[in-house]
């Protein structure tokens, strides 16, 4: 009986530790066991093998499991039966319980001690965990499979042999003795199938894989990407950064003139066109700055606005470790799905078909992904198809978000009464002359009154009629409710030789901006071929999408464009025009002469204009590995991307744009108006084609003959990225149905290029010439092509473990514009000869190796870059180049060469390895990456130094320590090291509660040149295929990075409770050219390039408690928190200027989001602002010296404490999830008005100081005429009274879901059905006294529209 029990326990344990993730749901009462078997077979990949004799006498069974693992299902099934079962590969062998278990070695000692188990992890050579690897204990005959994290547990003896095998990997046999843990690395065998080649990870000193970087997908397939990330990755917080930090759809830039037509208005550009207009470097810089939203120079915020799609779903942005670079758009991480980098963050990406998610934080790995991944990378791998089985999954998501209410009171905006009262204050300097141009109706009235053009009575009548109007409710018509649906269908299947996964996706819907509409089809096909007896393996991914998007009117509450009394519709529903540009009287005059009405109505324009775009994407990725001959293999990787973007702006004839344009080109003649532009719709259409090709191939040969082994790899690659847009002209009088337009008329005398005069000449003191010919000139198109070629060679020779010779050479050629050479060359090389002069000498000194070798890197010689814009001047009909920025060139032919002689000693049975080397480094040119002016110099520097390293492998390699000292290619001292100790796996460590305990530390230093080498090395084939990161741009050196990390984790009660704690201190230093600085007085440029560094320091905490876990009830709590500080170093000193940007400028030693202010001391009895000076005395003397000396630190505007609390509950078929996020320890700006400017629209102006005594109740000073940009304005708007705590906790999400029980599933022929309901942005708690949601606050403290509540429903079905 005891033996029987033992066996059962054994099985039970094996079951627990051989988790597999098939989800099995069975609800049966009193049925035959075969029926259960069949049901399990249907829901999993397992088949049962049994002798019918054995189960003849088995009683009927009742079973009730939901979404259980195979093991759980089996244990339920076999509970209490006299049957045993064993899982072998995908077969479940069922047997009558043996009378005498022969497998167990007999002996009372064994029985007393109980079972012995070995735990372990299986990984591939890249340290990626391997799932479903078969682990077999030879002596005892137990078998098990590894789980998704590569973990396994198997019963063992005190010593024995384990065989590990998995398809595509070389079988490995491991002998063990007195150990409880095995770490197994499988090598791909010759017949390998190529898998999705993730980034190859080159680890310095065998740095361990970050244990938290793979997300456990168990029971998470009903979630979306945001939900999965939120509760699983320490330090990763999903934050609502602002209402609009998402995908940039277009950019509005202030256009002074279009050729020769004065525009003086914002005009919308597609991102591509904007980049073409501003220059790629400069344009991207502007977009990144605006997306980042902090420290944006005024010169940029004044002239550019970005429009982003706040798709209902995209309100979360993942952030890891805060900003680690000044320049990059820190809040975004790069998401790569099956090898295709995504634009933006697909928060809603469903996890139904996801095999694994990997989060990369290691700077060394991130370098490979280029600048887009500066904030981290998330790699998502879809489930692979299974041979001989067709899987079909359908999922649908529905989202609804009501339009956020426009409420002036909540937005702190002045209503009609407040605004008019302020405007009519005699103290307000309002000088509008008698001009009919550019003055709002209310200002016209006030001016007319002041100039005595109307009587007080006339004024009052008209003023009162304005005062009765308020457009608050009508403004809500400028928004719409958002509704989006997303349908996805995935089909996978195939044979052994060919497997496929096909995906189709359809998204349609509208967001909150009025008139918006989108629809998108996506098709994808992942093909895997395994041909020629597995000698040729191909993975071919194809992706096609067609997206149509009509962008609507985006309501900007603080910048509406009309005053509160200006209505959109009158009582009868007719449009009411705004006559600010041209006064109503003047408009009447020109309309009387035959001109079109010059008025503007936002609602009309939003309804009738059509700004739409269509993007067609074609992408393909082919990876091929071919075993040509024994020893000879060929690998190639080919990436193709094609994107066709069509942007179309159709201004309807009735729109203000069309009417005004026609009027401006209308010349008054005796017979009426002579219109040079035909009246009608106006179409502006542009196309852009983006194409990217990246081909990399390598041929490898390796052979062993006798004691000799040789290996040769020859590789090459080419990349071409092109983007082009043909020149286009606007079409006037466009007819959408016939697709025809009417030409623009041209003057005949004296030439067609002559000027005409328009209606301005009707008004005294105004004149204007227009050149109709300019309208016929095409807007300049553009083409940009980037290419490079690379070649690499590596050689290896080895002799009987005695001598090894290796060498490599890598060359990248980039086109060079404007130099005598056609291309620039950058190269790196290495060579090494190592001989083992002592082998297995004695137990003290085991081996002695000596080596000589060389490494080197040489930069291309590139000219200094001036960012600029080249464009066609329509009037002069020629191109011009305008330089608007300068970027230092870090690559000017410098080189670094190292020659070393090295001695390595392996001591004490190889548990201690020490090495030392004598190095000679020759550097040519200036390698200082902090050189921002000129790196060119002929200086040669020779450096001799000693380097060394120490490696300790103790406690059966459970305690490892590495430390190396050397110098970077730049000649800087470097320490690299790591330490890790896996205490829980120690044989002495015996605890029933603690099952996982590990500590580790890391010291990593990557110089800019080393980072550069990592980037270029992504072109080299490793491990039989190519890494996925494609770098086609090597123009800038990556930032140098230094990191120190301490990490500890503990798991209790079989990981029921787990905790992970990490401290990090990372410093990255590089060229940053986006710091907000004053205009450079010697070049007039407003951005300054500087070499700066940023220190990220923080703690990440992750706690998970699986409080209840039974078959029917599961309750899990996750607490995820981080403390992060980003300290600026080596930033240029910005001297005091009384500007908003000065209060937030990067300061040495302070957080990059620091904010400073003067200390507010209230108003004095004259209504003037007062501050505390540096001595703490109240003063109303506000001058440069007083303010500059009394500014003090107010805190940070980015939360240092962030985190989330997630609770998950599962009751039978139902599950629920509640996510709370918190942001603590930071402040925000609260907008304070500065009375004195006639455009002020804050509701707080009603509280302005008017009479002595008012200073008791208000902080808003009296109206002043000192003008803008004054010290008075500075202290009024940017003192401490405008700084509020921004701490907030929000109920981010509540989700309810259920999965369909088995009996229903069967009825409909399904294998899986899950439905969820969610609400996002349900509630928030904010610490500030006004209860303003900090997530809606803009940089200057204005309040934006409230975050929309999003209601959604998701359905996922498997057939």
């Amino acid at each position: 009986m005891a033996k029987k029990l033992t066996l059962l326990i054994t099985i039970a344990f094996s079951i627990v530790y051989t988790k597999s993730y098939s989800q099995i749901t069975i609800h049966e009462k009193n049925v035959e066991i075969q029926k259960i078997f069949k049901s399990i077979e249907q829901q999993s990949k397992f088949t049962f093998l049994y002798d019918s004799k054995d189960i003849k006498d088995v009683p009927n069974i009742t079973i009730d499991v939901d979404n259980a693992s195979i093991q759980d299902a089996l244990s339920q099934t076999f509970k209490g039966l006299s049957l045993t079962y064993k899982i072998i590969a995908q077969t479940i062998l069922v047997k009558q319980e043996p009378k005498k278990p022969e497998n167990l070695p007999p002996g009372p000692a064994q029985q007393k001690k109980g079972m012995l188990f070995i735990k372990g992890t299986v990984m591939d050579q890249n340290l990626l965990p391997l799932k479903d690897v078969m682990i077999k204990e030879l002596k005892l005959g137990f078998k098990t499979l590894s789980n998704a994290m590569g973990d396994f547990t198997i019963q063992s003896g005190t010593s024995g042999t384990i065989v590990v095998s998995a398809p595509g990997f070389a079988k490995q046999t491991i002998s063990y003795a007195d150990t409880t843990f095995l770490e197994i690395n499988l090598q791909k065998d010759g017949m390998e199938s190529i898998d999705l080649s993730e980034v190859q990870i080159q680890r310095l000193n065998e740095i361990k894989a970050n244990p938290t970087k793979f997300i456990n997908m168990e029971n998470r397939n009903y979630m979306n990407l945001a939900q999965v990330l939120q509760g699983t990755i320490p330090g990763l917080s999903l934050q609502i950064v602002n209402t609009s930090v998402k995908t940039v759809t277009s950019v509005d830039a202030y256009v002074y003139r279009d050729g020769n037509t004065p525009v003086l208005a914002f005009r919308r550009f597609s991102v591509e066109d904007f980049l073409a207009r501003e220059g790629r470097v400069q344009g991207q810089k502007i977009i990144d700055l605006l997306l980042k939203g902090s420290n944006v120079p005024k010169a940029i915020t004044d002239l550019y606005h970005i429009n982003t799609i706040t798709t209902v779903t995209n309100v979360l942005v993942p952030e890891i470790r805060g900003a680690n670079n000044f320049g990059s758009n820190t809040s975004n991480m790069l998401v790569v799905i099956d090898g295709f980098p995504q634009d933006g963050f697909p928060a809603n990406y469903p996890m139904t078909n996801v095999e694994s998610i990997e989060v990369i934080k290691d700077p060394k790995e991130l370098i490979k992904w280029g600048s887009r991944a500066a904030g981290g990378a998330i790699l998502i791998r879809s489930k692979a198809a299974k041979a001989g089985r067709l899987d079909i999954n359908y999922s649908a998501n529905f989202y609804y978000a009501p339009a956020p209410a426009y409420n002036r009171e909540k937005l702190k905006l002045a209503n009609t009464a407040t605004y008019l009262e302020y405007l009519n204050d005699p103290g307000l300097s309002l000088n509008n002359g008698a001009t009919p141009f550019g003055v709002s109706p209310a200002k016209q009235l006030v001016s007319q009154k002041r100039l005595n053009q109307i009587t007080q009575a006339q004024f009052q009548t008209q003023w009162d009629s304005l005062a009765r109007l308020d457009n608050e409710s009508q403004v809500n018509m400028l928004q719409q409710n958002s509704f989006t649906q997303n349908h996805g269908l995935t089909v996978s299947g195939g044979t052994k030789a060919y497997k496929f996964t096909g995906m189709a996706n359809y998204i349609t819907g509208q967001d909150n901006s009025l008139g918006s509409k989108k629809s998108e089809y996506t098709f994808g096909l992942n093909n895997n071929f395994s041909l020629l007896k597995n000698k040729l393996n191909i993975r071919w991914l194809v992706n096609f999408s067609d997206a149509k998007n009509k962008s609507g009117y985006t309501l900007s509450p603080t910048n509406l464009g009309i005053d509160p009394y200006q209505m959109l519709l009158d009582d009868r529903g007719n449009y009411v025009y705004d006559y600010t540009v041209l006064s109503a009287d003047a408009n009447k005059k020109i309309v009387g002469l035959g001109y079109k009405d010059y008025g503007v109505n936002l609602l009309q324009d939003a309804r009738i204009n059509d700004l739409s775009s269509r993007v067609i994407n074609k992408q393909s990725n082919l990876n091929l590995s071919w075993q040509l001959l024994p020893g000879l293999s060929f690998a190639t990787s080919f990436l193709y991307k094609h994107r066709n973007t069509n942007n179309r702006t159709l201004y309807a004839a009735e729109s203000s744009y069309s009417r005004q344009l026609v009027d401006r080109y209308g010349q008054l003649s005796s017979k009426g108006v002579n219109f040079y532009v035909p009246y009608g719709d106006i179409l502006q259409e542009s196309d852009r084609i983006y194409e990217e090709l990246n081909l990399r191939s390598a041929l490898s040969y390796s052979k062993v003959f006798g004691k000799h082994s040789i290996g040769v790899t020859l590789g090459g690659g080419a990349a071409a990225v092109s983007s082009s847009s043909p020149a286009n002209t606007a079409l006037y009088g466009y007819n959408s149905s016939t697709k025809t337009s009417t030409p623009v008329y041209l003057p005949t005398y004296p030439s067609t290029n002559a000027a005409i005069t328009n209606f301005y000449s009707l008004f005294a003191g105004a004149s204007s010439t227009m050149y109709p010919n300019g309208l016929t000139q095409p807007l300049s198109g553009d083409t940009s092509v980037n290419r490079n070629l690379n070649g690499n060679l590596s050689l290896m020779y080895g002799f009987a473990n005695r001598i090894s010779v290796s060498g490599s050479y890598l060359n990248v050629l980039n086109p060079l514009y404007g130099q005598s050479a056609k291309y620039s060359t950058q190269k790196s090389y290495s060579g090494d000869v190592t001989g083992r002069i002592v082998k297995d000498w004695n137990s003290v000194l085991k081996d002695v190796l000596i080596s000589v070798g060389t490494t080197g890197i040489k930069m291309p010689d590139l000219p200094a870059q001036y960012s600029n814009r080249r464009y066609l001047q329509t009037y002069f009909n020629n191109y011009t180049i305008w330089v608007n920025g300068a970027t230092p060139t870090q690559q000017q032919g410098q080189s670094s060469k190292l020659i070393y002689q090295k001695l390595a000693l392996a001591l004490a049975d190889s548990s201690l390895v020490i090495n030392g080397a004598y190095n000679t480094q020759t550097n040519q040119g200036n390698l200082e990456t902090n050189n921002t002016v000129n790196a060119k110099s002929n200086e040669t520097r020779k450096l001799n130094y000693l380097s060394g390293g120490l490696d300790l492998f103790l406690r059966k390699k459970l305690l490892n320590f590495h430390l190396n000292y050397g110098r970077s290619p730049e000649g800087e001292s470097q320490y690299n090291g790591s330490f890790n100790y896996n205490i829980a796996r120690e044989s002495y460590f015996k605890s029933n509660t603690i099952n996982d305990l590990e500590v580790s530390a890391l010291l990593q230093d990557i110089s800019a040149y080393q980072g550069f080498s990592i980037m270029t090395a992504t072109n080299i084939a490793t491990g039989g295929s190519f890494s996925q990161a494609t770098n086609s741009d090597f123009s800038q050196l990556p930032a140098a990075s230094k990191i120190f990390e301490l990490h500890g984790k503990i798991g209790l009660v079989d990981n029921k409770y787990s905790m992970d704690l990490r401290y990090y201190d990372q410093n990255s230093a590089g060229v940053s050219n986006n710091l907000s600085v004053l205009t450079d007085p010697s070049t007039g440029l407003s951005t300054q390039v500087s070499y700066s560094s940023i220190t990220n320091r923080g703690i990440e905490l992750f706690m998970n408690a699986n409080l209840v876990k039974t078959n029917n009830f599961n309750y899990n709590i996750t607490l995820n928190g981080a403390l992060n500080r980003n300290i600026a170093k080596n930033v240029p000193i910005t001297r005091f200027t009384a500007t908003n940007s000065y209060t937030t400028v990067a300061r040495e030693g302070y957080d990059v989001s620091n904010i400073w202010s003067t200390k507010w001391a209230g108003l004095n009895s004259e209504g003037d602002p007062q501050i505390y000076d540096k001595n703490g005395n109240i003063t109303a003397t506000i001058d440069s010296a007083t303010i500059a000396s009394s500014l003090f630190y107010q805190g940070v505007t980015k939360a240092p404490y962030t985190g989330g609390l997630i609770q998950e509950v599962r009751v039978k078929q139902f599950f629920a999830r509640v996510a709370l996020t918190f942001n603590l320890g930071y402040v925000m700006r609260y907008y304070l008005p500065y009375p004195g400017y006639d455009g002020e629209n804050s509701s707080l102006i009603a509280d302005r100081w008017r009479n002595p005594g008012d200073e008791q109740r208000t902080d808003v000073p009296k109206i002043s005429s000192s003008g803008s940009n004054s010290y008075r304005e500075f202290v009024t708007r940017y003192s401490s009274n405008g700084i509020l705590p921004a701490d907030n906790i929000r109920l981010q999400e509540v989700m309810l879901g259920f999965s369909l029980p088995n009996n229903y599933l069967k009825k409909y022929g399904l294998s899986y059905f899950v439905m969820t309901f969610q609400v996002q942005n349900l509630a928030y708690w904010a610490k500030n006294k006004y209860k303003i949601d900090p997530a809606t606050i803009s940089q200057d403290g204005r309040i934006g529209s409230p975050l929309a509540k999003i209601y959604s429903c998701n359905i996922s079905v498997n057939f």
Partner: protein, 469 residues
């Protein structure tokens, strides 16, 4: 198997050979067409095409002169740098005001510095002929000299042989490296550079009299700028010499009577005007934005001009019962002012030099020619003037004011230099509109003639010393 191997080897060799050949072709591509790191002669030619080079921001200098006045409404408007400049206030700049005049001029100088830095390293190609190369350099130097001559007169004292070696001028940036913090070079040093650059530029056999359009300077504008610089230095012999050189190339004056001359609204309006040697305009957006109105001519300007002068009637709206005369606004939202280098200015330089040297009859002839083209036919016919050795210089200077008001500071520069002569020095005052109530006075030779540096400029380059007020 052997055949397979051979075929494979052949394939590899062919591929690698093709690759080597294809390398050059693959990498020989044009750069992006929408942004080009300027390196070649063709790029520099394109840089010189920019109409921004002709669009300047010197209106503040006109506001500080005695040629305009503010209405009462304009003087009581919310304080701004134009108003403070009008009243020669201290300060002119509010703490965070950007000095657009300063920054935009240096950004134009940067464009020219890139050309002068790189022209000698331009790769040999079809465009890199000695002619193209020297033309690019000459035009860059003339443009740069124009900007520096403006800057030194705006921020520095009038040239004085006695003190200019030490009088601070403006930072002299002659190479395109940014973020250097140069102190102010002396006025004399800036003048030396301007004159040296101009002389180098005109000493070019390929340089034609006029450029391909109003944006491109030709030899005539180089001579004209030399004449202007020497005049400001008080070197009347050299000024006369270069004025003559200019007029020998270009001497056409536009007759305002017969032509359809209209006040400027944009740069192309200068095209076709024969007297323009180098087109320069100032488009002022903020003045109109601040005041929602244009400027009023000062009473002294109005009385000098008289209403029969077409330079008045074509640019100002005649006063009405409700409104004084005002400058016409372009497109209802800005003021566009002509800052060009033209034949009339050169004629006036010549006339001034002649008058000062005693050749009053020749000077008078020049003035007469100019007035014939500027006054209405009847007014010119009615004009009875007797030019004498004593009065001619006065006539010339008056005519200079009439011709060059609102011309990018030329009147302010004249006031500064003439204040050094006892005969012409005067204090100017600001009064309330139509009143004698004085708002501000600017004594002759006052330091407040100089534009102060904005606090943002000084914060960015502390080596710049502020002009004392």
């Amino acid at each position: 198997m052997t055949m397979y191997k051979n075929a494979l080897f052949f394939l590899l060799v062919t591929c690698s050979l093709l690759a080597v050949q294809g390398c050059n072709k693959f990498l020989d591509i044009s750069p992006p067409t929408s942004n080009v790191n300027p390196t070649t002669v063709k790029d520099f030619q394109e840089m010189l095409n920019g109409d921004s080079l002709s669009k300047c921001h010197f209106f503040l200098l006109d506001v500080m002169s005695d040629d305009l006045q503010y209405s009462d409404a304009q003087t009581t408007t919310s304080s701004n740098y134009y108003l403070r400049g009008y009243l020669w206030g201290d300060p002119i700049w509010n703490p965070s005001d950007d000095d657009v005049m300063y920054n935009s001029t240096y950004s134009r100088i940067l464009q020219m510095n890139i050309i002068t830095d790189r022209i000698n390293a331009a790769p040999a190609d079809a465009y890199n002929t000695p002619e193209n190369k020297s033309l690019v350099l000459s035009q860059a130097l003339i443009n740069r000299a124009f900007y520096y001559l403006q800057l030194v007169n705006a921020y520095g004292s009038a040239y004085d042989p006695g003190t200019s070696l030490t009088d601070p001028g403006v930072p002299l940036v002659l190479s395109a490296s940014g973020n250097s913090l140069p102190p102010r070079a002396s006025v004399a040093r800036v003048y030396d550079q301007v004159i040296a650059d101009l002389k180098a530029a005109v000493n070019n056999p390929y340089l034609k009299s006029k450029g391909s359009d109003v944006i491109h300077p030709g030899k005539s504008s180089g001579y004209a700028l030399l004449a202007r610089a020497y005049l400001y230095q008080g070197d009347y012999v050299a000024a006369l010499n270069y004025a003559d050189s200019t007029l020998a190339l270009e001497s056409t004056v536009l007759n305002y009577n017969s032509s359809s001359y209209k006040n400027l609204t944009q740069l192309p309006d200068l095209v076709g005007n024969p007297e323009i040697l180098l087109g320069r305009i100032t488009v002022d957006l903020e003045f109109y934005a601040f005041n929602k109105a244009t400027v009023l001519p000062s009473t002294t300007l109005t009385s000098t001009l008289t209403t029969s002068d077409l330079r008045y009637s074509k640019r100002f709206v005649a006063p009405s019962r409700f409104q004084p005369a005002v400058y016409t606004a372009a497109s209802g939202n800005s003021m566009v002012l002509d800052n060009s280098i033209g034949v009339p200015e050169v004629m006036l330089i010549k006339a001034e030099c002649l008058a000062r040297m005693g050749s009053f009859a020749q000077a008078a002839a020049l003035i007469t020619t100019l007035r014939q083209n500027r006054l209405t036919t009847s007014a010119f016919a009615a004009e009875k003037r007797t030019y004498t050795a004593d009065n001619t210089l006065g006539y010339v200077l008056d005519e200079r004011r009439r011709e060059l008001y609102y011309h990018g500071g030329l009147r302010l520069f004249d006031l500064k230099r003439l204040n050094k002569e006892a005969a012409f020095k005067k204090d100017i005052t600001r009064t309330k509109y139509n009143s004698t109530i004085v708002l501000a006075t600017l004594p002759a030779g006052s330091g407040r003639y100089l534009v102060p540096f904005s606090p943002t400029v000084i914060a960015a380059n502390p080596n710049i010393t502020q002009n004392p007020r």
